[in-house]
């Protein structure tokens, strides 16, 4: 059943392509554990900009390209994730990462089709 819909719509600040930020709730069943964290960091690393994440308003910004940091942050289902990017293709990176979280880290792929 679908509870993939992020309850909180992302708030984006699309000033310029040098800085961009989004906020989103993690709805994947296990949070951001082994496989989702691999998918997330691999996507983050495909962008040249600096990408950082903050969990549950902790005011601690972690390197979004580091799976070691992300696993250490113990992100679970229901965690509120802030993602920010600075530098080249920042807006594009935020858009892609936010979409990945919304798609539950592609764990379903095209099988989200209806039955």
């Amino acid at each position: 059943m679908t509870d993939k819909m992020p309850r909180r719509k992302a708030t984006e600040a699309v000033d310029a392509h040098v800085y961009c930020q989004a906020e989103i709730e993690v709805t994947h069943g296990f949070g951001l554990h082994a496989r989702p964290s691999v998918t997330f960091t691999r996507l983050a690393k495909s962008f040249p900009c600096v990408i950082e994440i903050e969990v549950n308003d902790s005011h601690v910004w972690l390197n979004g390209k580091s799976i070691v940091k992300i696993m250490g942050a113990r992100i679970r289902r229901g965690s509120i994730l802030k993602i920010r990017a600075r530098g080249l293709r920042a807006a594009e990176a935020i858009h892609a990462l936010k979409a990945l979280v919304e798609r539950d880290f592609d764990e379903e792929k095209k099988h989200g089709r209806s039955v």
Binding site: M5, G31, M71, R74, H111
Partner: protein
């Protein structure tokens, strides 16, 4: 904690992480330590050693992933990604600067990080700690030159926990089992053990046993016996054989729950190209093959070819093809007219019966294909028995017509999707349906009166789950009295979170998306048939 004299048999209880019975000599896991690693070189030299060891360990893991199946490679991917992250090495470098040698620095830094993960509030994350132990040991083994431990085929591994790469490197063809003092039913090794049918017990607590002692692992019964009598082994083995009446040779796609109940797992296929990524012996055939995405619905040969392809792939296993389910959110061809766009309008069987040329064309392709294998037909959106009867008449007429032309056909079993509440509550009226399959996406939106494609009511749609489960439980009971097979092919079954409730509702046949098979298989294998997990949050 138990301690006895050697010869006497004694029993220890644990939690089943993978059912089955194993007998073999004990292999005791060695404790990994970083002792005798004091002699440090210069800071720069030790740093270099560490970087090189990480590069070597990474290459070893890549090589292991290359020769592993997809599920195992996915598990190793996580370790590879961790190793590629400079953050781990940087933590160790701080210790090298403080005077530690490379091995000691690595060991200490990783142990701190592992302790943080082991301390996490949720079981799923804690279960990943052993993956990091795996990484720690692999790099340490490169640094110290001491090989990673393997053990004799056929033996029973006994230790605190077991690292995934050790499991993957071990030869399990000679049997054997796993007994862990701690461990977790959610760990990667538990998943691997279930998919390879290696009996595994966790959470036994620490106990003393001599290396080489004979061990009987009755993982189905949640216990082990040290130094068992032959009589005990015989009893446990014959009991476990009785608990498996359906599949003496472990038929494909049959998973055993912890209490030994057989659950069938089938694949959902949208497109024939997906078949090559699924191992036929890993599933009980195709539980739902959609036909909306096959392209031109007027191309009978295309349909026939695709059905034949699926039957060839499945061998003797069933292939359940759902007839065109158009309308609703699936308007992929121009014939349906705008009026049927609504979920409550002319869709599914209603549209098929309104457009008999399309229905008859698909029926002909199905009738021809059915002559070549175990094909079943599923009718979408059935509301009243008359719709089922009308489609059956189409099949009979087309079969006769084809027969007259000398074309070989067979009338397949015809079953119905259970997705309209008015039908779901009245299954006993559908005695002419050969089988039933729940379509929970539509059932949920109709029960909640909340469209599944409208985000503004998504919460209501999600909140329908308990109502869906109650309807399923009633339907399962009705189907049982009718002696008709019943299963589920809705998205609910592809989400591990819903499996306990669906098992409680009595379902024993699940059709899930190919990329969810491994997860759902391990979820089911780790629970009792009434939906209880074998182990709660330990």
């Amino acid at each position: 904690m138990k301690k006895r004299s050697m010869a006497e048999a004694f029993e220890i209880t644990g939690v089943s992480a993978s059912p089955g019975v194993a007998v073999g000599p004990v292999h005791l896991a060695a404790d990994v330590t970083a002792e005798a690693l004091v002699l440090g070189d210069t800071v720069a030299a030790e740093g270099d050693k560490l970087w090189q060891a990480v590069v070597t360990a990474h290459a070893e893991l890549e090589a292991l992933a290359d020769r592993s199946d997809e599920e195992s490679a996915g598990i190793l991917d996580f370790q590879i990604e961790m190793l590629l992250d400079p953050a781990l090495v940087e933590m160790a470098e701080d210790r090298i600067v403080a005077g530690d040698g490379a091995a000691l620095a690595w060991f200490g830094a990783l142990n701190d990080y592992i302790a943080g993960i082991e301390d996490a509030p949720d079981e799923q994350l804690r279960a990943r700690a052993v993956d990091i132990v795996d990484i720690r040991n692999r790099v340490l083994s490169v640094l110290t030159g001491r090989p990673l431990e393997d053990f004799a085929p056929g033996s029973v591994f006994v230790g605190k926990d077991l690292e995934p790469s050790l499991f993957l490197q071990h030869d399990w063809t000679a049997g054997g089992g796993i007994v862990l003092f701690e461990g977790s039913v959610s760990s990667h090794v538990a998943m691997l053990a279930r998919s390879r049918s290696v009996p595994m017990l966790v959470a036994t607590g620490r106990f003393e046993v001599a290396a080489g002692a004979r061990l009987l692992v009755d993982a189905t019964g949640g216990r082990l016996v040290v130094a068992p009598e032959d009589q005990q082994i015989h009893e446990v083995r014959s009991r476990s054989a009785e608990a498996r009446p359906i599949a003496p040779s472990r038929a494909g796609g049959v998973i055993e729950t912890v209490d030994g109940i057989a659950i069938r797992l089938s694949a959902i296929v949208n497109d024939p190209s997906e078949l090559k990524s699924i191992e036929p012996s890993s599933v009980a055939g195709i539980g739902l093959m959609r036909t909306e995405f096959l392209g031109n619905v007027f191309d009978q040969e295309r349909h026939y070819d695709v059905y034949r392809q699926a039957l060839d792939w499945a061998g003797d296993a069933p292939v359940i093809v759902r007839m065109l389910d158009l309308g609703g959110d699936k308007m992929e061809l121009g014939v349906g007219a705008k009026e049927s766009e609504a979920f409550l309008g002319r869709r599914g069987i209603r549209l098929l019966l309104a457009l008999p040329e399309i229905a008859r064309l698909q029926a002909r392709a199905l009738l021809r294909a059915a002559a070549h294998g175990n094909l079943g037909v599923l009718l979408p959106m059935i509301t009243v028995p008359e719709e089922l009867d009308a489609m059956r008449v189409i099949f009979e007429e087309e079969s006769t017509a084809l027969g007259r032309k000398g074309v070989q056909t067979r009338i397949p079993e015809i079953g119905m999707m259970v997705e309209v509440p008015a039908a779901a509550l009245m299954l006993d009226r559908f005695s002419r349906s050969d089988f039933f399959s729940f379509g929970t996406n539509d059932l949920a939106q109709y029960l909640a009166a909340a469209a599944r494609d409208d985000q503004r009511v998504a919460a209501l749609y999600g909140a329908a789950t308990p109502a869906v489960c109650r309807v399923i439980a009633q339907g399962v009971a009705l189907a049982e009295t009718m002696k008709k097979p019943i299963g589920i092919c809705g998205e609910m079954a592809s989400d591990a979170r819903h499996i306990p409730a669906l098992m409680t509702a009595g379902l024993r046949h699940f059709s899930v998306a190919p990329n969810r098979l491994a997860d759902i298989r391990s979820t089911i294998g780790g629970m009792y048939s009434d939906g209880r997990a074998a182990a709660e949050m330990k």
